[in-house]
Amino acid sequence: MIAEAGLAALWLAASLALLQLILAFAPASAGGGSAPVRSIAMVQGALTLFAMAMLMWVFARTDLSVLLVAENSHTAKPWLYKFAGAWGNHEGSMLLWVTILGVAGSALAMFSRRMDERTLTAALGAQGALALGFFAFLLFSSNPFTRLNPPALEGRGLNPLLQDPGLVFHPPTLYLGYVGLSVAFSLAVGALVTGRVDSALAKAIRPWVLGAWIFLTLGITAGSYWAYYELGWGGWWFWDPVENASLMPWLAATALLHSVNVLAARDSLRAWTVMLAMVAFSMSMVGTFLVRSGILTSVHAFAVDPRRGTFLLALLALYVGAAFVLFALRSGKLAEGPRFELVSREAALVGNNLLLTVILGIVFLGTLYPLFVEALTGTKLSVGAPYFDRVAGPLALILAVLVCVGPLLNWRRDSGERLKRLAVPALAGVTVLVIAFIVLPGAGLLSRVGLGVAAMLGIAAFLPLFGRRLRRTPLTTWAMVVAHFGVAVAIVGMAASTLLTKEVLIAARPGEQVSVGPWLIEFRSVTPTAGANWTALEAELRASSGGGVSVLKPQQRFYTSPPTETTEAAIETVPGGQLYTVLGKPAGDGRWQLRLWWKPLVTLIWLGGALIGLGGALALGGRTWRGFRKARQR
C-alpha cells in the first residue's frame, strides 16, 4: 500500500502541475491574481514530498516486493544506508530531483509576497511546466514504485562505493543547488513574459540564486572530499564528466550571483542577467542529462536504458529551446538600464561574468566533445585534466586577479584611486611567485603562478574592510570578503598540494619502515577484520613526525552483496596537511603493496570551499535580516 500511495501522490502532483501551467497562462486568470496558482503549487510540492517520504519508507522497511528496493537494497545493510539508499539509484534519485523541484515551487509560491504578481504567476506557470516534464519522465520511464511479483527473497544490495555517510548529504545537497536554480529560471521566464525586468525582479531572484549556489558550493566541496577518500586514488578532482556536470551550473550560478547584484543595485545588465538565469538552470538540466541518461559511466550513472537518455534529451531541448526562443522574442523590448563607465564596479562584474562564461564554455565543450565525436564518427576519445588544466586554469587565475580589483571600485564611475591599495597585496603576490620559482624550479607553472595569485587575493580580499568601522560594516560586505578569501584559500590548497605532494609506492613486509615527506612510517601488520556487511584485510601503520605517533589502518574491503572489493584509505590530518595511506595487494614473499602520500596543505581546498559557502550563507543571512527589519519598520 505504501508504494501505491506514493505512486498515486505522484500522479496527482503531475495533474496539478498541468493545472498550474494552464491556470497561470490562461487568459481568465490574468486579472484573477496569483492566489489559485500559488495554492496549487504548494499542494503539488507537498504531494511530491509525500511520494519521496513513501519511497524512503519502503526502503527503510526493505520491502522486497518493490522492484527498486529488491534491486538496490539488502536486509543486512546498515540502517543509515537503507534510508539514504532511497536515492542511491536512478529512479530514487530522479524522484529526489523532482521532489526538490516541487518543494522549490511551493516555497516560491509561499515566500515571494513582495514581487510583481503577474510575473510571479507566470513564473509559477513555468515552474509547473518544468515539473510536468520531469513527472512524465518519472512516471513513464523511471517509476520508482514498480512492484515485483512475487517479491524477491533478498535484495541485491547497494554499490559499496556508495555505502558511506557521504551518500546521506552529498546528493540532497547537490540537488538543492541544481534544482534550486529552477526558480531563477522560472522567474526569468516569468519576467520575460510580463516584460518586467528590473531591480525588483533581481531582488526576488537573488535569495534563490544565493541559496542554490551555497548548496552547489557545499555539494561540490563535499563530493570532492568524498571522491578523495573513497576512491583511494589520492586525487580531489578528476575532471570526470560527472564532476563537470556539477561544475557547469556552479560556474553559471556564480556569474549570475554577481550580475544579479548589478541588476538589484543599479538596474543594469537586464537582458544579460535574465539570460544567465536561464543558462544556469539549463546547465543543471545538461548535468542531469549527462549523469542520468546513462551515456556516461561512473558511480553516479546507474542502470543504463537508452530510452531514458532520449526522454531526458527531449525534455532538455524543449525547455532550453522554449526559454531561448522567448528570450529572442522578448529581450529586444527590454529598456536599456543606466549606463556605467569602463572603470566601475559594473564593468568589473561584466569582466567577471565574461571570464566565467568563457570558462563555462571551455568546460562545456571539453565535456561534450567526446560524446559528439562518438555520435558523429564513432571514434572514442576522452578529455581529461591536461585539457582542462591547460585551457581553463589560466583563465581562472586571471579571474582571481580581477577579484582583487572589482570590490575596490565604485558603482557607475571610479577614479581608480583606491586601486593604489592593491600595492601591498601585489607585492606579496610577486614575492611568493619569485620564491616559488626559486624553490621549486621546473614544477607545474600553473600551480606556481597560482600560489602567487592566491597570496595576492588572500590579502586583497580584506581590502573592502579597510578604513571602515568593522562593527558597522554590513553583513553582505563581510560575506563577500569571506567568500573571496575562501577562493584564495582553495587556490593555495590546490597549488600547494600539486607542487609539494610526496608519493611512495612500495612492497613492504610487516616490520619494515618507510619514510614519506616528514613522516616515518612503521608497517606493523596486516590482519583480517569485519563489519556489518563486509570483511577486510587491515594494515596497521604507525606514523611519526617529530610530534606524537598516529596509527593508521587502511583496508581492502570485501562486500558480499553485491560482491565487490573496495579500497578504504586511512588518512591522518595534521595542521600542515594530510598523510594518505592505501593498502594494496599482496606482492609475494610476505610483502604488501603500500601507497603513501604526504599532501601538504591539501585540506585548504575543502576549507576554501567551505569558506566560499559560508560567505554565501552570510550574504543570504544579511539580506534576509535586512528584509525582515524593513518589513517590521513598516
Binding site: 554499490n159 545588465l269 544579460w272 562564461t357 565543450l365 581529461g384 585539457y387 585551457v391
Partner: protein
C-alpha cells in the same frame, strides 16, 4: 570615457560574443592535441596511435599474461585477442577487479618499442558499472560467439 546608452548595449553584446568565440577557439585549440583517443589492440598494432600521445587502450587482459616484477609494485601484462597483443607496463596498485580474462581500460602512452606504459588502470566493475567501451566490446564478443556456434 563615456559611452552612449545605445552604444553600451552594443559594446556588451560584442563583448559577450567575443567571450563565447574565445571559449570556442580556446577549446578547439586545447582539444586538438589534448584529447586521449581510445584504441583497441588491433588498432594499436596497425600503428593508428602515435608514440608519446596520451591514449586509452581497451581490451581483455590475456590469460596467463600477468607478470609481477621483483619490486612488487610493477606488473606487466598483455591486452589483446588472437590477432593483436599489446604489452602493458603499469606501476601502481591495480583495481580490485583487475584479473586475467577480464576487461580493462589502460590510460597512458605508447613507447617507441611498442610497449604501452599505463598511468591508470580501470577495470571492469560488476555489470552495472562497466565502462561503455567495454560494454560494447563484451556485446560484440558475445555476438561473435553466437555466430561461431
Amino acid at each position: 570615457m563615456t559611452v552612449k546608452p545605445k552604444h553600451q548595449r552594443l559594446v556588451l553584446i560584442l563583448a559577450a560574443t567575443a567571450a563565447v568565440a574565445a571559449a570556442v577557439l580556446l577549446a578547439m585549440w586545447g582539444l586538438r592535441d589534448r584529447a586521449a583517443y581510445f584504441y583497441t589492440p588491433p588498432e594499436i598494432a596497425s600503428g593508428k596511435a602515435s608514440v608519446g600521445q596520451p591514449v586509452r587502450l581497451g581490451g581483455m587482459v590475456e590469460q596467463g599474461s600477468i607478470q609481477r616484477l621483483p619490486d612488487g609494485v610493477t606488473i606487466r601484462f598483455t591486452v589483446g585477442d588472437s590477432n593483436a597483443h599489446v604489452p602493458v607496463v603499469y606501476r601502481g596498485i591495480v583495481p580490485d577487479l583487475f584479473r586475467e580474462g577480464s576487461g580493462v581500460v589502460a590510460e597512458g602512452r605508447l613507447t617507441r618499442d611498442g610497449a604501452f606504459v599505463a598511468d591508470t588502470i580501470l577495470a571492469k566493475h560488476d555489470e552495472r558499472y562497466m565502462p561503455p567501451e567495454l560494454g560494447n566490446q563484451a556485446a560484440e564478443h558475445k555476438a561473435a560467439k553466437t555466430v561461431e556456434r
